[in-house]
């Protein structure tokens, strides 16, 4: 077990290191002068802060020192929690801009991921049981995994938000409201949350259902299932074992799929103008706000790594094979 975790942590450490290095390297590798581009974009709208920005950027990029020194400085600033200053929300620091948006994304992602996982696994397990259900779940599941996240979001806005007008078509809460701890605000929040959540939930559902169905069928054909059936064990017991064992790869799948679902959440937020990281990302791109862009990438990478680690812990808790450190450890 120790080996398993050491390995995982090493991978996550290296991933984090590479993500930071990508952040550092890309602006320096790409043709063109990023400072000029950022200023160019910005000075048009706000000439007052342009001078302050110019000195700030030149300082941050520090092109006058050698590359390795720049790299070290970059890490030092990062480890002090300094991700730079946002250009489009000047002079707010990137970290506070990202932290403001983060709760919305988490509030969307976590329920969507967990619920789609639970419901999808249930559907998949049922599909493995009945031919009739299988014939409807399987094609539907493949269709759903093929749908681009933003397209389903667009369709939901169009049908539920515009045509039927049951749900608001955009934003995280009504323009007339200020965020507060009242019941009315909460209801408003949930009202706005529902469609983007539903959109993410539906697209993610298909993959889980198909995965679970295939895994359960595989387990039902395994040796231990055959042995139990040869000894006349009831279908119920065989299915229970198969279902439990099929859950294990689905837990590690949860971590592997996370990157894709996060991407889905970003574009879904863009469609709904939902005030999470997705909309922030769009703003950062449109305003050439590279510090903000890098900050968002870093936060997402950290989030994904944390979630992966949680999934690893869960995996170890449920799978004796990893716990015993013998075979079956997935690295």
């Amino acid at each position: 077990m120790g080996r398993y975790f050491r390995r995982k942590l090493l991978i996550y450490g290296v991933t984090f290191f590479i993500a930071v290095t990508i952040n550092f390297a890309i602006p320096r590798l790409m043709p063109g002068d990023p400072v000029a581009r950022m200023l160019n974009r910005h000075s048009v709208s706000n000439s007052e802060s342009a001078a302050a920005l110019r000195t700030y950027f030149e300082d941050v990029f520090g092109f006058d020192v050698p590359l390795w020194q720049q790299y070290l400085n970059y890490w030092t600033a990062l480890l002090q929690g300094d991700l730079g200053v946002s250009v489009f929300a000047f002079p707010s620091p990137v970290s506070s801009v990202v932290l403001d948006a983060l709760p919305y994304t988490i509030g969307l992602l976590v329920p969507a991921i967990l619920l789609s996982w639970i419901v999808g696994n249930g559907l998949g397990a049922m599909a493995a049981r009945s031919k009739w259900l299988d014939n409807s779940v399987l094609p539907l599941g493949y269709l759903l995994t093929a749908v681009p996240y933003m397209w389903l979001a667009i369709l939901l806005v169009w049908s539920g938000g515009v045509l039927l007008d049951w749900f608001p078509a955009a934003r995280g809460y009504s323009l007339s409201m200020q965020p507060n701890l009242s019941w009315a605000f909460f209801v408003d929040l949930v009202h706005h949350w529902f469609l983007p959540f539903l959109s993410l939930f539906i697209v993610a559902l298909g993959g889980w259902a198909i995965g679970m169905r295939n895994l359960v069928i595989y387990e039902l054909e395994s040796d231990y299932s055959n042995y139990l059936q040869a000894l006349g064990a009831p279908r119920r017991l065989v299915r229970r074992y198969a279902f439990r064992n099929a859950m294990l790869p689905q837990i590690s799948g949860l971590a592997l799929q996370l990157g894709v679902v996060v991407g889905g959440a970003l574009v879904t937020e863009v469609v709904f103008a939902y005030p999470g990281l997705g909309s922030l990302l769009l703003n950062a791109i449109n305003n050439q706000d590279f510090f903000l862009l890098q900050g968002i990438l870093l936060f997402i990478v950290i989030g994904v790594l944390l979630f992966n680690f949680l999934a690893d812990v869960a995996f170890v808790l449920v799978d004796p094979r990893t716990r015993l450190g013998l075979e079956g450890g997935q690295s």
Binding site: I11, I26, M30, A146, G259, V271
Partner: protein, 293 residues
């Protein structure tokens, strides 16, 4: 010599058998028809359509009609022309992104699985790192620094980040295959490693490789559409993703111009969905156990 000939005959026989069952498998036939049909539309369509996808051809915001099959945009551009051109870009990205990811994944998977040892440790680590890295976000950051973006560059960077699961699976398969007798035999006769991999190992996982290529192709199309949608699409071409992005940007949803945003998304869903269905069908073809059920 004679055994070689016999072996060859056997392989050809098997291939024919697979083709025979593939052409009789409804999933493969339906899936491939959709994929090839839309590909044909993307390839041939633009040749017959006189106008450019960015030309202002007619009335603004008009619903589909005999003149404009998919209607027109807010600015009076022909949606069908855009659609045909967009299909072209999507397939190109699919081929490039899927192809590059396939080649990288294959090379890394084979090398890691066949060499083992330290090489494997390193490549496996690399694979796992790229696997946990949220690819779309990294792609967004990279694309946003590029001032000029084309369909080709997009395909290339997508390919560079979507190979890990193929590498992982190929590595695992190579591990099991590399200790088979015929591989040992090849090694004893002094064949070089790349030769052994290509001649002895690869043919034994051909069906699996074909199926991963299909999945990568679909994945690249989905990826590209998301990048396009966020505004990081090709700056010099129309794609299905940029069509959706434009329709959002010009409030097509609120104006009720459904013909602008429904076709591109539907086409992506159809292409990727058809690819998945083809894959399920191919699984039945290659796996006789499933076939006989």
């Amino acid at each position: 010599m004679t055994t070689d000939a016999a072996l060859n005959a056997d392989v050809i026989g098997k291939r024919n058998e697979h083709l025979y069952f593939a052409l009789r498998n409804p999933k493969v036939v339906i899936g491939l028809s959709i994929v090839l049909g839309l590909l044909l539309l993307g390839l041939i369509g633009p040749l017959f359509l006189s106008s450019s996808p960015t030309a202002y051809v007619g009335p603004k915001s008009e619903a589909p009609s005999a003149d404009y099959w998919f209607g027109t945009t807010v600015h009076g551009r022909d949606v069908f022309v855009q659609f045909a051109h967009g299909l072209r870009s999507s397939y190109l990205v699919g081929f490039l992104g899927g192809g590059i990811a396939f080649v990288i994944g294959l090379t890394i998977g084979f090398t890691a699985g066949y060499r083992g040892g330290l090489t494997d440790e390193f490549l496996n680590m690399l694979t796992n790192v790229v696997l946990v890295l949220p690819a779309l976000v990294v792609l967004i950051v990279i694309s946003s620094y590029m001032e000029v973006r084309g369909v080709v560059t997009q395909g290339v960077i997508i390919g560079l980040f979507s190979w890990p699961w193929v590498a992982r699976a190929v590595r695992a398969q190579t591990f099991t295959l590399r200790n088979r007798d015929y591989v040992d035999l090849a090694r004893l006769t002094g064949k070089r490693s790349p030769q052994i991999v290509v001649r002895e190992v690869m043919p034994n996982m051909a069906s699996y490789l074909l199926m991963s290529m299909i999945l990568l192709f679909g994945g690249a199309i989905l990826f590209a559409s998301m990048l396009d949608f966020i505004g990081l699409g090709p700056t010099n071409a129309v794609s299905l993703g940029t069509m959706m992005q434009q329709s959002m940007a010009w409030a097509a949803i609120h104006l009720g111009l459904w013909w602008w945003f429904v076709p591109p998304g539907l086409a992506i869903t159809a292409i990727v969905g058809a690819l998945y269905i083809t894959n399920v069908g191919l699984d039945e073809v290659f796996n006789p156990k499933l076939r006989e059920m």
